[in-house]
Amino acid sequence: MSGPSDFQPTNPALKWIERRLPIMGLVHSSFVAYPTPRNLNYWWTFGAILSMMLGLQILTGVILAMHYTPHADLAFKSIELIVRDVNYGWLLRNMHACGASMFFFAVYIHMFRGLYYGSYKEPREILWILGVIIYLLMMATGFMGYVLPWGQMSFWGATVITNLFSAVPYFGESIVTLLWGGYAVGNPTLNRFFSLHYLLPFVIAGVVVLHIWALHVAGQNNPAGVEPKTEKDTVPFTPYATIKDAFGVSCFMLFFAWFIFYMPNYLGDADNYIPANPGVTPAHIVPEWYYLPFYAILRSIPNKLAGVVAMFGAIIILAFLPWLDNARTRSSKYRPLAKQFFWIFVAVCLGLGYLGSQPPEGIYVVAGRILTVLYFAYFLILLPLLSRIEKPRPVPNSIADDVLAKHGGKVASVIVALVVAGGLLVGGTQNARADDHGVAPPANKWSFSGPLGKFDRGALQRGLKVYKEVCSACHGLSYVAFRNLAEAGGPGYSVAQAAAFASDYKIKDGPDDKGEMFERAGRPADYFPSPFPNENAARAANGGAAPPDLSLITKARSYKRGFPMFLIDFFTQYQEQGPDYVDAVLQGYEDKPPAGFTLPEGAYYNKYFPGHAIKMPKPLSDGQVTYDDGSPATVAQYAKDVTTFLMWTAEPHMEARKRLGLQVFVFLILLTGLLYFTKKKVWANAH
């Protein structure tokens, strides 16, 4: 992409092709001979990381689309089937879902890097603007992708975000109807979002090609912010940048794999494991973590239209950055004031991210307004002002000088990296569940927690018994098939035992030759039958509250962990909020509500249930279920066993996930080490 290449293949066949389509020359000049500044630091590897992430998202996305059904009635189930039944479906789904977060994580670092080193300045304005366009496209793609699982957060996220357009004067309502394809978010919305979610990544890929083209015309910026002048200032892309990028990518994969294999739901919201229900909005709607700063800006402005304008403005303003910041010096390294304000700006963004996850009340609103003002002030007041008043330090004469003058500062950048990583997670994982009025359930020791966790077979078998004899009277288990009971990583029954278990059940089948429905004995391929034919029947039989299906209950329930616990959780891999909650609710019944608490008619007091008034009567009592293996027949034991069983029903392949995770980590650590030493060797004579 940087002018005609002098690359000439020697093989006659390749020569023949090259004369007609100089594609090898193009690749050679762009990715082999291409001169790259020799002082680039690791922040510059994020370009390669992002390319890899885009490729990975497209690959896993195309595969998931082979199994996904974009229909309002089937979407949620089809994702569960991907995770449960498709070979390695759980892996592909985790890669795609966590991959979206990783993609944004990397793009934010990439953007802040550009901001810090002035990569948007002349002659790289178009390069920067193309980047802003990619970012906008990513946001649209990410949002529509989040709608596809059709859980509660998907549905209500779609409702809230599409409603943003209703703020448009005069045409607002019509635009929203147009987006929905109906009177509300529904099946047509899901269908078009799926179509666009499939299309947009390829548009992104196209703009990325332009982005790289523009990059290769202007040349890369570098930490010193001075253009390369002589041969000595640059090194060829291959092997220098290639090996460095490979090492960077490999490190990033380690970070990525931590999520895929050990914390797949850490960045997600438990509510999205509840199928979409157009009649009930979750208590706190929060977007995915990567939208939180903009969500905070939206909410901090009390006028609907102004809020929407401010939110979009906060992104669009980035495109004007090259003209807002007129300073001659590119790199903030040599701009004492800009450098400090840059870090303040990073803090403002993280602060907005945190506020976006909090409920919009009290101090959070005030803080949100202050930070919103600061966000815009940085671009509209500070940067134009700084370029007039700031006295930059002298920049080095050339990149070679910069390399020679290099000293310390590496430690600082590592610390900064950690702070940024940690800070982004702050913004990312805080669920706005502040006011659920529940008492935090006590943390239990679960056999399945941690990187080597396995299900306790005995507990699974006992839990199945408790489910069958107690819970199944009201609760379904509709994503679990009898055949699952004999699968590896499950309760450890044989195929024959699972078949025998299935044959105890009566399954409705049909129609037969005469068109009649009939009942037959269950087969291993059948799913656990639900106790009620439909939700209305379930509601009517249970005092107005439909007992939820239990297949996913341990993933669909959570509670607020609070700061700093959720940061520690990332490292300890604590992700058993769901099981802890289920276990606590089963044991949290109290005969008499505390003084001052009025229990509504037909409800029971439960210490851990949000709001404390639960419609389910105390389900378990001592001695209710007989255990054959001598385990104590107590409520505590029942609760623990059935929770373990329900954790398995929520994620039958958990053991496979953790096992494969270990193998992947061993491989990645070896690969990263190998790449590191290769990189050192390659760069030995360049420093």
Binding site: I63, M66, L81, V86, N87, G89, D513, R523, A525
Partner: protein, 145 residues
Amino acid sequence: MWPLVAQMNPDAATIAAGAPIEVDLTPIAVGQDIKVFWRGKPIYISHRTEKQIKEAQNVPLASLPDPQADSARVKPGKDQWLVVVGICTHLGCIPIAHEGNYDGFFCPCHGSQYDSSGRIRQGPAPANLPVPPYTFVSDTKIQIG
């Protein structure tokens, strides 16, 4: 790499749904046949007439493109029941029963003709209609798979 390829294979639910099925033979009169589906494939179950059985048994094997005795294609003592996968071995169309010159099946796509034992007699198909795995659970009931 392997997960990216393995995901294309049938998923666990599809495999589980491919379990054996039972078919009651009582409603099928002599000379009639029914079509049932097993693993997404049509299975023809024919209640053959005496004439059809005779024809199938008396053909000289040497004259067949894919020589196979009729006795190898039905269960012993159950000569009247022919169970074959109704998918033309040429390119996968479904042959029509009771058509063609051999009292068997005729494939409308490219004109392959099968006899009353489901063996290829004429046309581009290279092989006989395959016999699916099945057993007689009782005199009037078979289990396919």
